[in-house]
Amino acid sequence: MDLKEVDVELIVNGRRHKLRVGTNLSLLQVLRDRLGLTGTKEGCAAGDCGTCTVIMDGRAVLSCLVMAFQADGHAITTVEGLAAGKKLHPLQESFLEHGAVQCGYCTPGMLMSAKALLDADPAPDRETIKTAMSGNLCRCTGYFKIIDAVEGAARKIGPASTARGAAAGAATGSSKAGEGR
């Protein structure tokens, strides 16, 4: 079998990587096997479970369905790039506080879907969160704590840190009695 290879440049978590990759490789395979970023997991390799979600140019994408050559020149954020040094991202803090992590296999994908959501809409209501996360399967939690955690993170990020659309949205978000305790 003659597999073509191409040169690509991936900007992953702010770092540039020049690689020669097979045209049959997914972004997921390159992240895990070539760059050693095993935080991103494979759950189905068919776009059904959301486990492999990463952020590409600000949007949540399924890295099992994006071919590596399609990511050429694009900025990608994985779970390893979520914390700023030792400072956890508010989503990570909130997942810890709300008990949103169980087996943890869906967690990286959940975090990336939630980050893409909060980056675009800093004060989503519960229904918006549920819709945004509906492509991420979890078999352990029933999603309750995960949705609580995303709401909690939105409150942490708050209206101050986001210039856009803060007023109405954030007020709704913080008045919701979503959090369990």
Binding site: K41, A46, E80, Q102, Y105, L137, R139, T141, G142, G178
Partner: protein, 750 residues
């Protein structure tokens, strides 16, 4: 959204607190490593040649083309397996099929190559020819005397039978003034953990065959690997890193032996990762059951319960001979019924082997007995809460097996609390259900509840043992500074490491952060048994508690470290016994946890689609060691129970091949399928033998969900759906049948 209300207990510092999971930080950072995340320099990759045939004789196996492909290191077949057998209870499965394949998920060969792509290419070059054998997919048909035998040489496809005889059920049915009979079916269901099977194997520095895998029962995996490779167990090592969910589906061997064999034969590191399709097709499932219930009441009280259970074992025995007894032991629910007769059997077919799955035989009968209970309440004109409360167990109640229930019976309290939270109000001895305003969109609203119970720990005379070793560093005054815990309790996601850290912290007077729980390595951490049967809190919790007590007792002036190891054995504390072959009399289980859940649903009368709007869950956990983690377990239990109720079915085609191959075909609930509201209530009726009174809950919290939803559907649209899943088509057909029946003047089916 949820709320926890717990009763006050004596002061504890770590136990009872919602401490953060000990593994959560690594998991949110993406640093937690699962089996597929491990690699070794120079490792090869292995792929499996699966049969795909549901029942056939292998007539030819040609590996020459695959072996000749450059980069292929080895192609292993049955001839390469020293002892070609494995199995949890009986070694009736082949590591690599030699002669006959009995279900589509059997492995025929393993190809090992320098890259994953090469291994895939070589796999596709292996040629296997087959002679088809007659198929048997229906367990009822498999029981017929003329049915083709799945295992030649056996007298019939019926693997085993059980019976329980308590009182005189025929006389009681004859005297009953109300008899209700119905048949219920539950389907084949997939565990659907998110982490597909994966493993890395290598020879370690001491020459041991080592596998890094997600196994629920590490030391039993070692036993089975060693047996298949004909090695002494001390030459085999299993390391269990993080596991992406298990739910019973990793209690049996999946790829452990194949990875070990590949390493054993090639002596190089070998990695094997299954795709989702391979995972779905090639590991076992939950037992489908046909359940025939004929119960009688006299003067408003249940007097007779006759039950027949038929379970599908699939092609191999796995743990069927332990799962089905579990079903037998709970078949009539946590109810006092003076005359009981239960007959059960488990039957081989060419379906996937059925195995442990959350509930271990106790998730199927509630689908029958809780609908049946509601039918009696309805026929007698009594509220389902009041009716249940008149029959539920109290302390000292006698089980159908003749033994009293273990102490700590909180079942009535779970019902009272769940019913109250769902809107019922108490009027003297009567309970009155809430009036539900109609939904504005024309869908029918319904409210239902179900009560269930499950054992904790191994049963029927099995020694449930767990060994814990603790090392405690002491300060100059002899006070504990920090501790390390060694115990091979596989963390499948349920939080066992956190619970055991809390128990150790409590026993040593330390903060939880000061207790390090070591990861499972069968050469370093002692045998704790399986991560199943909701057992670790009770069994391993006791082992840790006692090990800590022994360590503390060794403190002496000048000592800066103490260490102790302790093996807890359930048989010394709460002995159980196996069924009497004629009467079924026994003391079946160590202890029980009890659960009641209420569901509010909306049913579309046009399409039959069911939406679960709200749920209440009340569980008697004995002692809530970590309330926040309990809420997490409850949420996950509802997820799996709701999937069981209305969505999930692992489907085979008529030719025995798999139809539901990935998550696009095997549907599990998403965020949009879950109820908007969950109320979570912990009831704490302690078991005096549990650590701090704790019992267990991992399985319990999914068991009443499906019958609660079914009872709510009945309440909404007036039809019983006796077969799961109650998807739109099945609900619609039941409504159509009721409409047709009403139109023809025969009255609505009950």
């Amino acid at each position: 959204m949820s709320e926890t209300r717990s009763e006050a207990r004596p002061e504890t510092r770590s136990v009872g607190r919602s401490v953060s999971r000990v593994d959560a930080l690594e998991k949110v950072l993406g640093r937690a490593r699962y089996p597929a995340d491990f690699s070794k320099p120079g490792m090869c990759h292995a792929k499996v040649v699966w049969t795909g045939e549901p029942h056939a004789r292998i007539t030819g196996l040609d590996t020459s083309a695959a072996a000749a492909l450059p980069g292929v290191v080895a192609v292993l077949t049955s001839r390469d397996v020293p002892r070609n057998e494995f199995g949890l209870i009986e070694s009736d499965q082949q590591v690599l099929a030699a002669d006959v394949v009995r279900w589509t998920g059997e492995a025929v060969a393993v190809v090992i190559a320098q890259t994953e792509e090469l291994a895939e290419q070589a796999r596709d070059l292996v040629r296997v020819t087959y002679e088809p054998l007659p198929l048997v997919l229906d367990p009822i048909r498999a029981m017929a005397p003329d049915a083709p035998l799945i295992h030649a040489g056996q007298a019939s496809n019926v693997m085993a039978r059980w019976k329980v005889r308590h009182g005189d059920v025929e006389a009681a049915l004859a005297e009953a003034d109300l008899v209700i009979e119905a048949e219920y079916h539950v389907p084949l269901v997939e565990h659907a953990y998110l982490q597909p099977e994966a493993g890395l194997g290598y020879i370690d520095e001491e020459g041991r065959v080592t596998v890094v895998v997600a196994g629920q029962w590490p030391h039993d995996d070692v036993r089975q690997i060693a047996n298949a490779l004909a090695l002494p167990p001390e030459r085999v090592r299993e390391i269990v890193p993080y596991i992406g969910g298990a739910f019973g589906g990793r209690e049996d061997i999946s790829l452990q032996i194949m990875v070990a064999l590949a390493v054993f034969r090639t002596q190089v590191p070998v990695k094997m990762v299954w795709t989702r399709e391979e995972s779905m097709r090639c590991h076992g499932k939950r037992h489908p059951f046909t359940m025939r219930y004929r119960w009688g009441a006299k003067g408003g009280r249940l007097t007779a319960a006759k039950v027949e259970l038929i379970a599908d074992a699939g092609a191999y025995s796995s743990s069927s001979k332990a799962v089905v007894p579990g079903a037998v032991s709970v078949a009539t629910g946590p109810y006092e019924i003076p005359n009981v007769s239960i007959d059960a059997c488990v039957v081989h077919t060419n379906n996937p082997p059925t195995m442990a799955m959350r509930g271990f035989g106790t998730a199927q009968p509630p689908v029958a007995y809780e609908q049946h209970i509601d039918k009696f309440a309805r026929a007698l004109g009594e509220d389902p809460v009041s009716f249940r409360l008149r029959h539920l167990w109290d302390e000292g109640s006698i089980q159908p097996t003749g033994s009293p229930v273990p102490p700590g019976v909180g079942v009535k309290e779970t019902l009272r609390r769940a019913a109250s939270a769902a809107g019922w109000r108490q009027d003297g001895d009567r309970w009155v259900r809430p009036d539900l305003p109609p939904l504005p969109d024309g869908r029918r609203r319904g409210l239902g509840l179900a009560t269930a119970f499950k054992n904790i720990g191994y049963s029927f005379g099995f020694h449930d043992r767990s060994t814990a070793r603790v090392t405690v560093a002491l300060d100059e005054r002899g006070e504990p500074e920090r501790a390390e815990l060694f115990i091979a309790a596989a963390e499948v996601g349920m939080g066992v490491h956190t619970v055991l850290a809390q128990v150790a912290a409590e026993g040593l007077g330390l903060a939880v952060e000061r207790v390090k729980v070591h990861g499972v390595d069968t050469t370093r951490t002692p045998n704790a048994g399986s991560s199943s049967a909701s057992r670790h809190t009770f069994i391993s919790g006791n082992a840790v508690m006692e090990a800590c007590r022994l360590a503390m007792a060794q403190r002496a002036p000048g000592k800066r470290q103490v260490e102790a190891e302790y093996t807890f054995d359930s048989q010394r504390v709460r002995p159980t016994t196996d069924f009497d072959p004629e009467t079924g009399a026994c003391n079946p289980h160590i202890t029980y946890g009890y659960v009641t859940q209420a569901a509010e649903v909306a049913v579309d009368p046009v399409t039959g689609a069911v939406e679960v709007l709200r749920m209440v869950a009340a569980q008697d956990v004995g002692k809530a060691i970590n309330p926040l983690m309990i809420e997490g377990q409850v949420g996950g239990g509802l997820h799996m129970g709701l999937g069981y109720a209305i969505m999930e079915e692992f489907k085979l085609r008529e030719d025995g091949r798999v139809r539901t191959r990935n998550f696009s075909e095997y549907l599990v609930p998403t965020t949009l399928d879950m109820p908007a509201d969950l109320t979570c209530i912990n009831v704490e009726v302690p078991d005096p033998a549990g650590p701090y009174g704790a019992k267990g809950l991992g399985e319990h919290v999914m068991i009443p969900t499906a019958p609660a939803v079914l009872n709510a559907i009945r309440d909404a649209v007036g039809v019983d759906v006796g077969e799961l899943p109650a998807g739109p088509e099945r609900v619609w057909r039941a409504m159509e049948a009721a409409r047709a029946s009403a139109a023809s003047g025969k009255g609505v089916a009950r």
